[in-house]
């Protein structure tokens, strides 16, 4: 198991990318050097006993030169609300890097990255590292409408081929992102042994992606979210039901056995 750190780090920048969606940059060279795409940080929201527990956020991006880590989060409740009010110059206590991240197999030439909504958070870092390894990334980004599309320019500048879908048709493909993926898979014949699907987003969406991956026999990985307490594998609070190799079912910890799970494991 890789090493973990707990550290109070300084907030260097904070920006509201879209309504209630924030990008926060912190200084933490150790996370930069240890963190892998798909891993997450467990953040203490403040010193108060309320909200009590830490909140998990994916590593969105790292900058090795500046030693910075960026986090992308949406305000959905009290914890993320407090975080959205933190100011540049303040410190935040983090534990990380946590969990098992994405792992592309050796021969992967093409990655189909499927992000719904905030699912882009762990997939941006993945895309960056895949592009650096010379993998061709087709990034499918879905949202309800144009206004909720996140990080389009940044994704294009990474060198990813960006395909957009919106439920209301206000940008890109009019429909669900799974329909867009289905069209793509049907139109182009991807080499099973050299293509991988990576996906994060609402579970209904990931379920759709999983069934397409099975139908077209393309290996796939999914990053799951569950409420957490410890974040380090100690409390068994964050389990999901998974398929075992022998065909049985067992609970696995999202924080330590995941958050990234293989197609063979996931049960949606």
């Amino acid at each position: 198991m890789s090493a973990l750190i707990q550290q109070k780090v300084k907030i260097l920048a904070k920006e509201e990318l879209a309504a209630e969606v924030f990008l926060m940059q912190v200084h933490c060279p150790q996370i930069v050097s240890m963190g892998q795409p798909g891993q997450f940080l467990h953040l203490r929201v403040g010193e108060d006993p309320d909200p009590l527990l830490r909140r998990p956020l994916s590593i969105f991006r790292t900058d090795p030169e500046k030693g910075t880590v960026s986090l992308l989060f949406r305000v959905v409740g009290r914890g993320t609300h407090v975080m959205s009010r933190m100011r540049v110059g303040e410190t935040i206590d983090l534990i990380g890097p946590l969990g098992r991240g994405f792992s592309a197999t050796q021969g992967t030439r093409t990655a189909l990255v499927v992000a719904g909504g905030l699912g882009v958070a762990p997939l941006f870092f993945l895309t960056e590292s895949l592009v650096q390894k010379g993998v061709c990334v087709r990034f499918l980004l879905g949202a309800q409408s144009k206004k909720q599309l996140l990080c389009c320019t940044m994704l294009r500048s990474l060198g990813a081929d960006l395909l957009i879908s919106t439920d209301d048709g206000s940008a890109g493909f009019h429909g669900l992102i799974t329909q867009l993926l289905e069209e793509l898979l049907a139109k182009e014949s991807f080499d099973h042994s050299r293509t991988m699907i990576f996906s994060t987003g609402p579970e209904a969406m990931m379920a759709g992606v999983a069934s397409l991956a099975r139908r077209f026999s393309i290996p796939a990985q999914f990053s799951l979210e569950r409420r957490m307490a410890c974040g380090v594998g100690a409390c068994l609070g964050c389990v999901v039901l998974c398929r075992t190799r022998s065909g049985g079912r067992e609970y696995r910890r999202v924080c330590a056995d995941g958050p990234v799970f293989d197609l063979e494991e996931v049960v949606f």
């Binding site: 006993p49 409420r227 410890c230 409390c235």
Partner: protein
């Protein structure tokens, strides 16, 4: 190391002795980590050296592996959290084979939390652990709110508790600690049963029954609807129970419930606890046990105490305060 300066020498003298005696067990300091919040001792080792702890209590071990309750198993509430883990664990055989070796390598008191659905199951677990070195004590969990059979049901009636603990007592020579539930009318009566059964100490308290509902979806936040409440929210309740039992029963008490800081620990010690356990605080800050140990040293220094033991049960009462309760 160079010769201590005169200042260092003074500090050396003032550094309080934090060791405590729990029946026959000597703890190097009174701060243990609570069952179910520290896994099998390995999960936090990158973040805190487990050898600094006064003791480490494992997740509950049962006779057979248990997969536990369906998710969601945890939820946050005001100043606290609910859990419904359901005693998920690998079972005693795998525990001995795969988890115990790491615990045996530690230089801290290892205490194994034992649970079951029937008296017979408790007895069998205890017997399977009997020959194993590196276990300083067993904490008998008669207080888990998250299982249908056994657990809390066995621990909420003084006679049942006596029967169960007597049977366990006969099965082992080890130091026995009974972990009691706060979800009872008279916790002192249960503690007295534990004493009568020959148990050497009690841990108070396990989680309080609690629940929460998502008002948007109208669904409970836990799959089991009702679960166990822990964290700062339960501290006053735990403290009152520790005080009550320390008054009435002549067994050493280990205080647990919402301890986040050294001040919290001092409160429990003043109320009569000779050691404390840190549970939910580990999730919030893995350094909490160490901060508490260091804070207790400071607390002794501030009071001019040479030994933390001098503080146990030293709550100051006005002469007539007893009458009111």
């Amino acid at each position: 190391m160079s010769r201590p300066t005169s200042v260092g020498y003074v500090e050396e003298i003032l550094k309080a002795d934090l060791s405590v005696q729990l029946a026959s067990l000597r703890l190097k300091n009174p701060v243990l980590v609570a069952s179910g919040t520290y896994g099998w001792g390995q999960e936090y080792r990158d973040l805190l050296d487990p050898n600094l702890l006064g003791g480490l209590i494992t997740k509950a071990v049962t006779l057979h592996p248990r997969e536990g309750n369906p998710p969601p198993r945890v939820a946050e509430t005001r100043c606290g959290m609910l859990n419904a883990i359901g005693l998920a664990n690998v079972g005693v055989d795998v525990f001995v084979r795969e988890k115990l070796p790491f615990l045996q390598s530690l230089k801290t008191a290892v205490i194994v939390n034992v649970a079951g659905s029937t008296t017979e199951e408790y007895v069998q677990v205890v017997k399977k652990l009997e020959g194993q070195p590196g276990i300083e004590a067993l904490e008998i969990n008669i207080s888990c709110p998250n299982v249908k059979e056994g657990g809390m049901a066995l621990g909420s009636d003084p006679r049942e508790a006596f029967r169960l603990l007597s049977a366990v007592r006969k099965a082992t020579k080890r130091l026995l600690i009974a972990k009691l539930s706060p979800n009872v009318t008279d916790i002192a009566a249960i503690a007295q049963s534990a004493a009568d059964a020959g148990v050497e100490a009690v841990s108070l308290v396990n989680t309080l029954l609690g629940m929460a509902i998502d008002v948007q979806t109208h669904r409970p936040l836990l799959s089991t609807v009702v679960g166990g409440l822990s964290g700062p929210a339960i501290k006053p309740v735990a403290l009152a129970m520790v005080w009550k039992v320390a008054q009435k029963v002549s067994l050493p008490v280990i205080g647990v419930g919402g301890i986040m800081t050294a001040e919290d620990a001092v409160e429990f010690i003043l109320a009569g606890a000779c050691a404390v356990q840190v549970g939910t605080a580990n999730f919030v800050d893995p350094h909490a046990p160490l901060n508490i140990i260091q804070g207790l040293e400071k607390a002794c220094a501030q009071r001019g105490l040479r030994e933390i033991r001098e503080l146990v049960g030293k709550m100051v009462l006005e002469n007539d305060a007893h009458e009111i309760r």
